[in-house]
Symmetry: C2
Subunit: 168 residues, 2 copies
DNA sequence: CCTAGAAGGTTGTATAAGCACCCACACCTC
DNA sequence: GAGGTGTGGGTGCTTATACAACCTTCTAGG
């Protein structure tokens, strides 16, 4: 059993450790698939996805950086790469000369479309498929609670965020 | 349901996205605390922790790399840094001249001891404290299931891992 | 207006991590 | 016991990311 001397890892801590490992391993497997099949890093996929969901398929750099949890400089470089590959473009913001939009291109949309089945397959295969509906609901509840109670920023489409009237 | 136009992100997917964000944000906050208070990156903390839990306070490089989910070269460099700071030492393996042990030093143990309250405070404050016992149990159950059913490698002290006969 | 300061983005630089490759030793077969 | 294969670990190089400093433009106050 886990105890026999002083208990170094109290039970709740183990949950944290498991969570960490699970997340890392799932993410890594996702990364491998996405990279090998579509030459797309997870962060890049995330950018394309966020853009595709945004109105006008465009987002201000700053806004986008927050959504994908990247520093602004990190996003600058990521967009550089995506632009080089023709998946996004930068477009000036007419109402604020400092501002720039990252805009999803046709090619970017296509690439996102190609990659999405891979993405879904990976996430389901490593995660979602192994949970019952009930368990999934529990996860959702727990996570929602965390976002509400910690200072965590919820994803734009989670319950508690704008466009999703929770109980609907 | 969540829909109102075409639902781009089916409900289960949202769980995944929330999980990702939560994990990243918690980890980041943990990193900030650990770095600012103890000049210890999370990976470094993890290494010290694993060593402290190992018998003889030592682990083979390869073994350690697996436990902290780092590539071998990544671990080589991390141990380099920790060794430079006097927190671990390398020690030859008598039974296999190729092998090396990473060994926790006194200083490393001390540093781990200092950092642990910070670590615990962060994990609890961002995560554990916000969940009821019941929710925690649900999380544990879900994660355990994942480790069992996916090809994920469980942490050494989780249920399902070696020295831990689940029900004990 | 003109200036002070804040905000949006990019650039310089540092760091951690991974992959591919390399060397030394171990094991196995003959 | 000599050669081939595999394993443990380290090195060279590339990459993604962060932080800090920077430039430009916007906004407020005088």
């Amino acid at each position: 059993m886990t105890s026999m001397t002083a208990e170094i890892t109290p039970q709740p801590l183990i949950v944290w450790r498991m969570l960490q490992r699970a997340q890392v391993q799932i993410t890594r497997s996702l990364e491998v698939e996405l990279l090998s099949a579509h030459d797309l890093a997870p962060a890049a996929y995330d950018v394309l996805l966020q853009l595709s969901e945004a109105t006008g398929r465009r987002l201000r750099m700053n806004d986008l950086a927050e959504r994908v949890l990247l520093s602004r400089s990190g996003l600058t470089r990521l967009i550089d790469r995506l632009q080089r590959d023709g998946l996004v473009e930068r477009e000036a913001c007419t109402s604020d000369a400092r501002g720039l939009f990252a805009v999803l291109t046709e090619a970017g949309e296509r690439r996102l479309g190609e990659a999405t089945p891979t993405y879904l397959r990976a996430v389901r295969g490593q995660f979602l498929d192994h949970l019952e509906e009930e368990e999934l609901r529990q996860c959702a509840a727990v996570l929602t609670k965390l976002f509400a109670r910690c200072s965590l920023e919820a994803p734009s489409d989670s319950p508690g965020a704008a466009g999703v009237p929770a109980g609907a």
